[in-house]
């Protein structure tokens, strides 16, 4: 059997890579993909714990996370379309109205 801590460490690594992508990427669509990566990493931890403790709530949570991620993607991509229409660019450095 695979120890549950292996799954959790893999989840932490994927989450860390998502954070790195979120911070260092400049394309707003890729930043959005990094967010999806972080959500997936958390889902893996949920399923692993659900298996380890023999409880189903973890899988139900993953189901809800996936639903919310789908809704979030629909709204987020609409916002991205709006930004690119107004700014003619997908670079987050160009979206700086709130920057000092």
């Amino acid at each position: 059997m695979v120890p549950i801590s292996y799954y959790v460490v893999l989840s932490a690594v994927l989450f860390g890579l998502g954070v790195v992508g979120f911070v260092f990427k400049r394309n707003i669509i890729t930043i959005f993909m990094a967010i999806e990566l972080m959500l997936n990493a958390v889902n893996l931890a949920f399923v692993a714990f659900s298996r380890a403790y023999g409880q189903l709530q973890g899988q139900v949570f993953v189901f809800f996370v996936i639903v919310v991620a789908a809704a979030e993607t629909a709204v987020g991509l609409a916002i991205i379309i709006l930004i690119s229409r107004n700014r003619q660019s997908l670079n987050v450095e160009r979206v700086d109205l709130l920057k000092l």
Binding site: S5, G16, V47, S50, R51, Q57, V75, E93
Partner: protein, 163 residues
């Protein structure tokens, strides 16, 4: 038993390689395809954990719907290669070391906090999951339908052409 462990390491390597590729690729369409690799590897890991329903939903919703939406928007906006701008000095000398420190601390805490117990319980049947979803969690389940409706309306209103 060792077959399972080997399978886990192969799938974990594929997932991490896909995530790295997502970060390192310059073109968003390549990043989206790397994301599919991660999703499919994770779905296989869910199968390994005995969560068949979640694995199927992962493939159908994530790889089948969300990433397709990403690819559609990339093509719609004709997104090109990412232009690279310099990191600010603050980000390079403070942010980068702190980020790496966060990664190591996270891995350290997680590796020490979780008891290395093997997954003892067998696979849960999808039937039990359905019972729980539609009995104990039926109110949140109905709420998500409202959430989806609001999200659809919001996306329509936001992306509509102003005339």
């Amino acid at each position: 038993m060792t077959v399972e462990l080997a399978l886990f390491f192969v799938l974990a390597a594929i997932a991490v390689a896909g995530a790295l590729s997502l970060i390192l690729q310059r073109h968003p369409i390549h990043s989206a395809l790397s994301l599919i690799v991660v999703m499919v590897a994770l779905a296989a890991l869910y199968l390994l954990l005995g969560a068949e329903f979640i694995a199927a939903v992962q493939i159908i919703v994530y790889a089948g719907a969300i990433v397709v939406l990403f690819v559609l928007v990339i093509m719609l906006l004709n997104a090109g290669v990412e232009e690279r701008t310099d990191l600010s000095r603050m980000a390079r000398y403070v942010g980068l070391p702190l980020g790496i420190l966060l990664l190591f601390l996270l891995a350290y805490w997680v590796a020490h906090a979780v008891p290395p117990r093997a997954a003892a319980v067998g696979a849960v049947p999808t039937r039990k999951l359905a019972m729980m979803l539609f009995q104990d969690f039926v109110f949140p389940f109905e709420l998500t339908s409202i959430l989806i409706l609001v999200a659809i309306l919001g996306a329509l209103v936001l992306a509509r052409k102003e005339s």
